[in-house]
Symmetry: C2
Subunit: 352 residues, 2 copies
DNA sequence: TTGTAAGCGTTATCAA
DNA sequence: TTGATAACGCTTACAA
């Protein structure tokens, strides 16, 4: 209301301005503002007052250049729409913030060249460290990660590479847990809807499915395997129709992730099939939507939040401590979470 | 395998190394690498070869300091777990990338002091521009935004502030659309589950509910209003019980967003109530899950993706063009999306 | 067409 | 306890 046409000042206020303002050198100002070195209380008072008064804010670019650190951590994930990555991001955020870093989230939209692009720009020093959960682990990934000066932590499936810190979870084993559970419930014809099979998680899960079959002396029927597309809700929904084309109809289906499982359940619901009575459904990831689905979805937790936390801690350790310790691989075990979408419904007659 | 203990080089390769390598000055290297100014083809060849050979990557901090631009845009959103913000982020990402900027996503976890923190650190020049969708618009927000040198675009409800570029949507009007629709379907006792009522969207939606009642000469019954907590799935689920405590039971419910509506539908489902037969449900936002819910959820789209795109374009315009043009406010109209969760089910007897 | 040199805003190493 | 001053790695006049 009162401010008439006052343009924002064109040059911004620097350390030199506050130095001049209170008649000390820029060195002193820097010392006071960073609480480094020695200075009198009186000087401190004056510098701080001056800084506040003229609205000084340290220039992050200059600081970074000089200190050779940006105080930023980059997190590269393939899809911010996927609750699993959201969970990871949140726990990572927590850890890095506690250590004084800002987390910057980079979404690659599942594009490999975007991932590589991020790796490349790490070389340009726009962050001090990187946590990446690559969909693919190509030779190019390896090459770039090796070349980087900053520490990198990979969140992935089983170890593709032992040269780099990583947090691993064997999602294939998760699929085996799911299969075991279904068999124990009496289901034996179990279909599998996979995500993109060329990706690391896609491949791991498919292999898990195969080895579960082998493990239990079940026949391998390629007709029971559906390539689901893209790990999304609508991906699951859209491929579900192919599930119903299989004949005889499978008794249960394992989906490569919860989002797809949810999509499948919805399709089944629309077609009038009841879960688990007409078909049992198991997912993977244990996202929030899973527990609130109707019926609540049985799933295999891959402990996303915990993996995130661990990855962040690994990174902080590198950043703050022994940067030349040998690479660490920390493993996490998938955990079966049984809910109603996969348990045989007995006639409820009150249990004793 | 072959690489024995070769430590990553401690100093990284600079423009000076390239210059030395091919016997030209650093100025020439800079010119070639930035394709600026004049140089012979021969020089270009040599510089480029040398750069590639010794693995030169421009130092982003130095470049930023000199050029006074980071080539980064910050996007501050309150919850990366909310699909609405994801949709926004994706379309913003698209636009800024096309203009050569990197988008960095900052999640405030709905904490106001985090929002302010981001505003403050903008003053430190860690990004060239900011898009923010504040939950609250306090005096402190205003103060900081005004002080910033970088352009800021606010994505919000109805204009709180005309001093800054903004993309607005009147979500209160959206609630009115929902109400109108429900009334047209014959529902008249309509409850309202709100998100946090101290937030901008919370307040706007509540006001929308009131004015819809007034508009249609309906009695205002505070008993029909539930403060839902936090705009999340489980928030909706958990408050749904209070919905059923209202007596007589409302015929329909409008939820302040889809996530909460989905939570409500699940609760109702568990309690054996059928939607819309026993209670109609309408949400807001039109997230992907809404169309795939059972039954598909009627909702009011607030055009998140489009608002994101517009905000980004506004920002790019500021950055590339007339930075002293008067602030722009662009408005977007909420749109009703009718699905099955709110339409009275006639006995289906085949249409003409 | 190329090179020299002056910054960008800091931090940090010296002396004073 | 303070102040000059030299970097940090780059861009960009200005000269040559």
């Amino acid at each position: 209301m009162t401010d008439n046409k006052m343009r924002k000042p064109v040059r911004d206020v620097t350390i030199a301005d506050v130095a001049e303002k209170c008649g000390v050198s820029i060195a002193t100002v820097s010392r006071v503002l960073n609480r480094k070195g020695r200075y009198s209380v009186e000087t401190q008072r004056r510098v701080e007052a001056a800084a506040r008064e003229i609205g000084y804010a340290p220039n992050h670019m200059a600081k970074s250049l000089k200190r050779k650190r940006t105080e930023q951590i980059a997190l590269a994930i393939s899809d911010i729409g996927n609750p699993v990555y959201v969970a990871m991001a949140k726990s990572i955020q927590q850890v890095v913030k506690d250590h004084g870093y800002r987390l910057i989230l980079l979404s690659t939209e599942a594009l490999v060249h975007e991932e590589i692009g991020i790796l490349k720009s790490m070389a340009k020093h726009f962050a001090d460290g990187l946590i990446i959960s690559p969909l693919l682990y190509s030779e190019e990934h390896r090459k770039w990660i090796k070349r980087l000066k900053q520490p990198v932590v990979v969140i992935s499936g089983i170890a593709e590479e032992t040269d780099v810190d990583s947090v691993l979870v064997d999602s294939g084993h998760g699929i085996r847990l799911a299969m075991e559970h279904l068999l124990s419930q009496g289901y034996s014809r179990v279909a599998f809807i996979n995500g993109p099979s060329q990706t690391v998680p896609g491949r791991a899960r498919l292999n898990g499915y195969y080895s579960a079959l082998v493990e239990h002396n079940l026949p391998i029927d390629e007709g029971l395997i559906i390539d689901g597309g893209d790990f999304t809700l609508s991906g699951g929904y859209m491929t579900a129709s192919r599930l119903l084309e299989i004949s005889p109809r499978p008794e249960a289906v394992i989906c490569a992730n919860d989002l797809m499982a949810l999509g499948v359940m919805r399709y089944l619901g629309e077609k009038g099939l009841r879960v688990p009575r007409d078909m049992a459904v198991v997912g993977m990831d244990d996202i929030e939507h899973a527990s609130l689905a109707v019926p609540p979805l049985t799933t295999v937790s891959l402990l996303a939040a915990e993996r995130g936390r661990m990855a962040a801690e690994l990174l902080m350790e590198r950043l703050e401590g022994s940067s030349d310790a040998p690479p660490k691989q920390v493993k996490v075990l998938p955990k079966l979470v049984v809910r109603e979408s996969s348990v045989v419904v007995e006639t409820v007659t009150g249990g004793a």
